[in-house]
Symmetry: C2
Subunit: 511 residues, 2 copies
């Protein structure tokens, strides 16, 4: 895996990636003499996506990148001036020109943390004017990242820890960066790799890919490779004409499968040979361009066996259409008999990869059987129209049992002392009418201080570290909450003081 | 509206925004001696999105930007080398380093054209290796842009030509560029403006916005504005203490509405005054932070009437929750009585804007009544699992009746002569079993040559020009096809020669 090439956000969002009403409000604050007032906003969600009981927090790294690079250049200020009234006081634009995030402080759940409804993912505090300008870009950076990471985590739970999951959604992404974000956070949430090369280059996501149908159809079979010779894997011995060797093997394979030697498509075979010449150590056959049974499979076997003679082992096959599970089972059967017939044991267990619109349901069906799955996380953000928010600056703690399992999360006022391990605590679960008591064996603070007055307080974990942390976090969640359909809801509760404040403000109609 | 600031694609996609399998296939072609083979691919869709019978073609400008900027820098080639086998021939990487789009030709539907299933949006031809690398980024750039433009066009059809439609989806977009793309192509498809400032700066989209709830809640009412004085609109006469004037007007307004003068929220009023001081010519009241009837509306009226005394006219109010239509009707009633009571006729017709999760159905309900609507186009791409594609390089024509109405689109082989106006033509509608004849009064070629051997052939229209073209195109579509639900499907037909080729290839099992 490559290291991250863009730690300082050259590919990060630009400062004007914000809603105009943030800029008009900034002018309003400035005119009211309130630009430097201290303010805080929190990002949180009201309902877990995809019908689940958990979400993964993600996007913090992009937020920190954005903050550190945040600065309005002359062109930015000029554009804002063109969008604001022409008689706006020029001193406002001078204020914008001098703006940076040196007064901004960020607390957040570590990247890859479990997150529950109402618990802030991010708390941003600092001068009112700058904090207002940051609201839209930070929301944009956190909400989609968390959604994708959560979706990926769900697919990983379905697939189990050992299956290889590849993200291949770039073609259908919401524009270039929609794709970059999706690839990055699919990996964070538990995928193994992405087809998106830019995500590899800029974010260090492992990249993977072999060939598509267009490669296969581009060969007619009449092409003459300029150099069909391939040296043995060990480097010793004479080169072999791979194309000729494949034709010899094809006869044996067709005999074994009961096919006529004219049936497998010549162009497909030429494409496989071309690919094998370029990637003798990483040959994968895409089986379903013409006919899996009459063409793709025999052509793959002929090339794989010709490579095998030279000491190379094919890495697998891929299916991209039809009933993936049924075909995979039948292909496995053919591999078993061919392995015996030709005395090539590894052929029994050659990986079968599948792709093509794989959603949670299809993955559940496939996961029992297959080794590798490619697909695109699906996005759907369920929103609660209720707009009430909890007042004041809050602290959040996770209470754990003696076995390390998660009991509940508590939100309280920032000035309250933290819950103590071993001490009984009365809390008010959100949405419940009654309080309850809980005695945690361990207490973990949820929000960590990452940026203080514009300065990074501790190194951000790498993407791969956050990915590992996400999987650890998911492991500690009880199966009842981890369940993807109709899960038991995980409780988020308010402290007695916070609940009392909410009650007081509600009675006054202020919420 | 600002001019476009990024014509050459500084904000365009990067060259490695592609799937790794495109790069592995490139190596395969290169190893097979086929890098310079001439190749062509077409981008098209199989089914119109959102259950409609039309789509708008969009994204060409981004494609042209991408092509013109396409060049693999050293860092890009080094990254690809790290992702490919370590024994890959170094000459391949030299080939990549020298790669550009000087051999690439692009034909495409003009931006904003009506597009129908099977008709290519884009035909890209050139050397096989480079065309393969371009496939993913161009797909990514065209499909999402067309989807958003189509969605925006549907919402515009529902709203009618005169309502003002604002796109405000940035907070929920797929990352920064997902938002930029959505804002740009919502405008192309028929929206009037976006809240996204970056879309204004980089793409020339008109931007709009006023204030959000957070501005209102940030004021308690105890703030003392450093300068509450406002000069009359005409510039003549003494400055007035706006805050004091608003308090005077509030008493009259509350008397008229039968409210106690203590009921309207002080903080909300302070926020409105602060906003009015900053934007005396563009004051808009966001009414639903506390109570529309007991607070938002009287506070708005007090500020609007105080501004009116100084010669300023408020631009309107906005509602962001609840039953938008019902509230809007009642507010209109209050504006009418207040206009009469206070002798301010323009108050009768002050614009009422609404926002909050407005989909096609809600918009249809609202459009009867309201002037301005903000919302986010919803995306859903329906896909057909059928993967068969039509063979060969194709030309496409639109046949029109004598009144300029659209009859059908015809796909034919590139070498066939074009259909002639006034001459009968036999064609095979896709999905039908029978041929039909058609005698067009006019014939329009659909695909235009934009880039030839890497050179732009004619200037691209501006975004605003494409937007106007899109609306003209939609006007020519018959109401039966334009209908958003259960529309009559518009026919796309094959020429006799193309149909014969398809039949021949199908019989041979090659499709």
């Amino acid at each position: 895996m490559a290291a991250e090439q863009d730690p300082e956000g050259l590919a990060a969002a630009r400062p004007l990636l914000t809603d105009l009403y943030q800029a008009t409000m900034a002018l309003g604050y400035w005119r009211a003499g309130r630009a430097q007032d201290q303010a805080e906003f929190e990002l949180f969600f009201r309902q877990c996506p995809f019908g689940g009981a958990f979400a993964l927090a993600a996007g913090l790294r992009d937020c920190v990148r954005f903050l550190r690079a945040f600065r309005l250049r002359d062109a930015d200020v000029q554009f804002l001036a063109s969008a604001l009234p022409s008689d706006t006081d020029p001193a406002f634009f001078e204020h914008l020109r001098a703006l940076d995030c040196s007064g901004v402080t960020v607390r957040a759940l570590p990247e890859g943390s479990l997150a529950f409804p109402g618990v802030p993912l991010l708390q941003v505090s600092g001068p009112l004017l700058v904090v207002q300008l940051l609201e839209t870009p930070l929301l944009c950076l956190v909400s989609y990242a968390s959604l994708i990471a959560t979706n990926a985590a769900r697919l990983r739970l379905i697939a189990g820890p050992d299956k290889r999951l590849l993200e291949m959604g770039l073609r259908r992404a919401q524009g270039p960066d929609g794709g970059l974000t999706a690839s990055t956070y699919s990996y964070l949430g538990g995928f193994d790799a992405s087809s998106n090369v830019l995500a590899g280059q800029l974010r260090g996501v492992p990249v993977a890919g072999t060939l598509a149908h267009s490669f296969v159809t581009s060969f007619s079979g009449s092409e003459v490779p300029p150099d069909p010779m391939l040296a043995p894997a060990a480097g010793q011995g004479a080169q072999v004409d791979l194309a000729a060797s494949v034709e010899t093997w094809l006869e044996r394979v067709c005999g074994h499968l009961g096919l006529g030697v004219q049936e497998p498509h010549r162009g497909e075979r030429a494409a496989f040979v071309a690919y094998a010449l370029a990637f003798p150590r990483a040959f994968q056959g895409l089986l379903d361009t013409y006919s899996v049974w009459r063409s793709g499979l025999p052509n793959f076997l002929a090339v794989a066996l010709a490579l095998q003679e030279l000491g190379y082992q094919a890495v697998g096959v891929r299916l991209d259409s039809g009933d993936l599970l049924q075909q995979a089972r039948e292909i496995r059967g053919v591999f078993r008999t061919a392995a015996a017939q030709f005395g090539v044991p590894w052929l029994q267990s050659v990986p079968i990869a599948v792709s093509n619109n794989i959603d949670e349901e299809e993955l559940a069906r496939l996961a029992q059987k297959l080794v590798s799955v490619g697909g695109q996380p699906r996005m759907k953000l369920t929103e609660d129209p209720k707009k009430q928010t909890l007042p004041g600056s809050k602290a959040a703690f996770r209470l754990l049992g003696s076995d390390g399992s998660l009991l509940l999360d508590v939100l309280q006022l920032a000035e309250e002392p933290p819950p103590q391990a071993g001490q009984e605590l009365r809390v008010w679960p959100q949405g419940a009418r009654e309080s309850r008591t809980v005695r945690p064996a361990h207490v973990e603070p949820l929000l960590r201080l990452w940026v203080k007055q514009g300065q990074l307080c501790e190194p951000l974990p790498s993407l791969a570290e956050s990915r590992a942390f996400a999987q650890q976090s998911l492991h500690r969640l009880s199966p009842a909450h981890r369940r993807l359909e109709q899960p038991a809801l995980y409780q988020v509760a308010l402290s007695e003081k916070l609940q009392a404040l909410v009650d007081r403000l509600s009675a006054r109609g202020a919420l």
